[in-house]
Symmetry: C2
């Protein structure tokens, strides 16, 4: 099997795990549950749970403790997409070729579906306490998840991004936004994979650095694709950053320099990863593939 | 000291604990952090953390493990107020006599401040893992918090409430909404207090029943005050339920019957509580006071 076939296979397996943790659509709150599942089943690369699982394997993890956390990280990511798309935020009507949640379910229900998914992520991760009561690694993983999602992570980054629309950005502030808005959840993914496999503090820190670079490279590649990609490959109209007067790596440094940086940063991630005794060839190929992707 | 003085004193102590867990307003995400603190410091009865602490004491809890959870439950409650007030939801401009978060900070920042507080609640509760790694009660408490906040609790109740605006409600559905939207967080408060004090499963279940009644009586009293109270005592204009064509206990059963039910339900709560060997006189008085309050 070549890498691309292997990726399809493993992404399918990851998706199957996520689907097992989705709520049943029943009871008076059925509309809410449908709205949550609508966005959870709208496709996507499942990159964060995939990175979590592969990092778990890298450090010899073989059990199922990681599975609720894989679902949880995807729920948090999806929560952020639903709220980012709202009229008061980016006001996007399409994502991944499908209508966004507030277009289908209305704005109030979309706000609640986002809230519901953020909270359901913790509800889902808490299942690991039932299977492993008293395992301190579960508590550590939960703390990483909350920290990287919150004001010092994804939500904090989004708030700075929202405030900065239409304003010139210093390189320092742009880096800050990318690190929080995109890298933080990828850091959570790889750190939690390491923590739950029993890796020590030093190795968890090293994975945080790897993930920060992976996230940065991923986001710059996103900026590049917004300029070079088509609606067909992206599942949404390209050129949205320019229309929204968004400052990105491409507008600040130019397309060519941005493309160079993607390569440099992902090489740095691979070097850091290579300094470990543990090896996971698929994880390395995945990181390489992320920076050459076309969608 | 009479009950009213004692309540003021204990509420002050609870507020001091909550304030210790609020985020520092610094860094690029300062606006977000200010918006979160703006609503957290806007007053309020601090009822949920107060009930949590008193239940903790009821079962002999004397340590500090409960404190991050006290802050967390108030953050979740405040999250729900910020999102409920949004233009897409109740569109309220005032709460507790102060402008609501989206009026002061704009809609996008208010959505993120609500998200930020919901997540910060978990981040804060996770601190208990640091002080007590491997204590399975902390994991149990976290699971209760997530379950009662989520689709089967507060957020689920809010979604049914939103869908029901302007529609006739069956008594069953009205009960469902009250139980999820209001009782669920009060159940979480009293259950977590019991769990962290080391109470067994049976006593935790009993406290869930007590709290469900307390929440129900509290919400019906809210409906009553919306009809009988003034802007001065409520901190917001009265009669909002009528203006918003909301179905409430008062519109369904009439004012007099609603007032009777508040008494019956709170008496039932006190009876259930009285069946325990453990006693907390202040907690009993607090439950009695909630149903005779005028604001």
């Amino acid at each position: 099997m070549n890498f691309s076939e292997e990726l399809t296979k493993r992404t399918g397996e990851v998706q199957e795990i996520i689907y097992r943790y989705l709520p049943e659509e029943k009871g008076y709150q059925k509309t809410l549950l449908s709205a949550m599942n609508y966005s959870m089943t709208a496709g996507g690369k499942r990159l964060r749970p995939l990175l979590m699982q592969e990092t778990y394997r890298l450090f010899g993890g073989a059990g199922k403790t990681v599975e609720p956390f894989m679902a949880a990280i995807e729920m948090i990511h999806t929560h952020s997409l639903i709220h980012d798309d709202l009229p008061a935020m980016d006001n996007d009507e399409y994502r991944r070729g499908k209508k966004t949640t507030h277009v289908v379910y209305g704005e109030a229900m979309a706000i609640l579906a986002g809230d519901g998914l953020l909270n359901f992520a913790y509800e889902t991760a808490c299942r690991a306490f039932l299977t492993e009561p008293g395992n301190p690694d579960v508590g550590r993983a939960m703390a990483v998840l909350a920290e990287k999602t919150g004001v010092g992570g994804m939500i904090g980054g989004q708030s700075v991004d929202v405030e900065s629309v239409g304003q010139p950005l210093s390189p320092d502030k742009l880096d800050f936004i990318y690190r929080l808005k995109t890298s933080a959840l990828i850091e959570a993914s790889m750190m939690i994979g390491a923590v739950l496999a029993g890796a020590g503090e030093e190795k968890v820190k090293l994975m945080e650095r790897v993930a920060q670079d992976v996230g940065l490279a991923f986001q710059i590649q996103d900026d590049i694709l917004d300029v070079t990609g088509s609606c067909e490959t992206l599942g949404k109209p390209g050129g949205s950053d320019e229309r929204n007067h968004k400052t990105t790596y491409v507008t600040v440094k130019g397309l060519e320099k941005a493309q160079e940086e993607v390569k440099d940063i992902s090489n740095r991630a691979l070097e850091t990863l290579g300094s470990l005794n543990e090896k996971n060839i698929f994880l390395e190929e995945l990181i390489r593939a992320l920076t050459t992707r076309e969608s």
